[in-house]
Amino acid sequence: MERMKIGKEKFGDFLAALDKQLYAPQKVGETLRFVPITPEDKLDLEFSNTTVPPKSVLFPQTETLYRYELGKTDLNLPDDEAEKVLLGVRPCDARAMAIVDDLFSWDYNDPYYQGKREKTTVVGLACSDPEVNCFCTSVGGGPASTEGLDLLLTDLGEVYLLQPLTEKGNNLCREAAEVLEQATEEDAAAAEKLHQEAAGKIVRKVDTEGVTEKLMELWDHSLWQDLSRACLGCGTCTFLCPTCYCFDIQDEAEGLEGRRCRVWDSCMFAEYTLHASGHNPRPTVRERTRNRVNHKYSYFATKFGKIACVGCGRCINLCPVNIDILNILAEVIKEAI
């Protein structure tokens, strides 16, 4: 489908034309995160990126697997998912969805994740003003990359340019055809110019060539000790990482009502790998930090052929003790033979 455009003042009409549950970034306390909205809600898409990535919609922090009554054995699965639109997803976070898709469809299909993913149309918003720690261009992405997106919006000042990318994206444009206009050659050229300018504003870079092998060569290197020492094990880097998907499964019961649910977990927590015997195969922050970096840049790449990092910079921006994955990678590249 061809590129379309819509005046910003009419954007609410566009949303109103979509008969789907809408999610968009909203401030919740101090954090910017994706929450359900209505077309009447005031939207602020002038953000660099959300604090919490949109994975929280497809892979909620706490998710019921099934409910039961204590003392009984009937297992009640959740209802089917509603059609959703995720609005204002940054291209890095959309790429993260494409990466996580591989995990949840590997060998066993995950009906909870896939059920939501299939019913969700992802509307991206090209970056015009990358943050200081953004490094998407080093890991295969860019401020207007389209992987994982169904429709890409570019902010042209007075109007948004809409670039449909998939059948789901086409469908959105069809549903809202009445409020959309055909974009011109000039609009497309203006968007292209913005995309290139944004890419030029990304300052942090890393050369990931061969890093998958280099990491394994440096298994016992002292850099892991040196660069992990400050780690508090708070797990922020992983909870807010758009490609981190580790989870725990827990039973919860109140009165006679029980449920088995999955909740986000983090390889940076000591309890994550702690055996019931008391033995812990990753006993200190050294082993846990090595696992986090190796998983993203080596293990995942070995298994799925792609690095599980999209360069969003959240783990750098939000680490309370300034542990910086690019510094770790730089050290790895320097030390590897």
Binding site: L65, Y66, Y68, L70, T73, L75, L77, P78, D79, D80, L103, F104, W106, D107, Y108, N109, D110, P111, Y112, G115, M216, W219, D220, Y245, C246, F247, D248, I249, Q250, D251, A253, G258, R260, R262, D265, C267, Y272, T273, L274, H275, A276, S277, H279, P281, R282, E287, N291, N294, H295, S298, Y299, T302, K303
Partner: protein, 282 residues
């Protein structure tokens, strides 16, 4: 949500029988369970070495090795050491009670590739549980294998699992076994010492033999060293790894050893494979 192919949704099973194998803080209890759904029970198939996620609604789930061979019948056995919250709650269950079961998970011992060979199992403590299905499988297909030798030890005679089953082997001339305990006890007629030393005492020939070892990590490490001293090649030695697990299907992340998941790529590994994984003996 679609009823089919939800790998997180367990089956309900009824406990048919239990045996208190050992006592104390880390007691071991064996459960014989039968899946309630007749169709699923008839279609269930597992191979020696595989595991299942067993649990109690309202408490949680634990990954436990299936300690019976599929040749034994349409039931499952689990030998569970009391170690944490879920296993404590499992120990409170009695015949007639329900548990949740999902699986089977993981790879398995390549028992069919081992046909025509001598089988040697070397177990310690609860580590005999994953070895038991191999022993039962070989016994059920006895003509397909050459020698069957079992080495098994525990701290004291009271800590040995499956005691009656070892005793029953006295009646057979096609299985030989060697038991050990760490410290001398009155009336003990078998070896006194650690399992790796008993292995050297038994002095098995590596000729056409597969050695499989399961037990505490420290025992495994010395058994591996001693098997090498006895000239077993890396390809002739198998063991299992265990790590904390939640999903069992290679998604939740925690059981990884480097790029491999114990729940998917394991729990069974040849020593040749293990040597190439940096985190395998962590």
């Amino acid at each position: 949500m679609k009823e089919i192919a939800n790998p997180y949704k367990p089956e309900i099973a009824t406990i048919e029988d239990t045996w208190q194998e050992t006592y104390g803080d880390r007691a071991i209890k064996t459960f014989k369970v039968v899946l309630d759904d007749e169709e699923i029970r008839e279609n269930w198939s597992h191979r020696p070495g595989q595991c299942a996620m067993i649990g109690i609604l309202g408490v949680g789930e634990s990954m436990i090795s299936i300690s019976c061979s599929p040749t034994e019948g349409k039931f499952l056995r689990f030998s569970v050491m009391r170690a944490g919250k879920v296993t404590q709650a499992l120990h409170e269950l009695e015949p007639g009670d329900k548990m949740t079961v999902r699986g089977p998970y993981g790879n398995s011992f390549p028992v069919d590739d081992w046909k025509g060979k001598n089988i040697l199992t070397i177990g310690g403590g609860i580590g005999q549980a994953p070895l038991r299905p191999i022993i039962e499988y070989v016994k059920a297909n006895r003509a397909d294998y050459k020698g069957l030798s079992l080495i098994y030890g525990a701290r004291t005679s009271a800590d040995l699992c499956f005691k009656d089953e070892f005793k029953a082997l006295d009646e057979r001339d096609d299985v030989n076994y060697h038991l050990s305990i760490d410290i001398e006890e009155e009336g003990w007629e078998h070896y006194v010492g650690f399992v790796p030393s008993l292995l050297m005492e038994v002095d098995p020939s590596p000729e056409n033999t597969i050695a499989i070892t399961c037990g505490p990590p420290v025992m495994i490490n010395f058994v591996l060293q001693n098997l090498k001293e006895l000239n077993f090649t890396d390809e002739q030695i198998y063991t299992t790894l265990e790590n904390r697990m939640k999903c069992g299907i290679g998604k939740c992340g925690r059981c990884n050893v480097a790029h491999l998941y114990v729940c998917k790529d394991g729990p069974v590994f040849s020593y040749a494979t293990l040597k190439s994984i940096p985190e395998a003996f962590a």
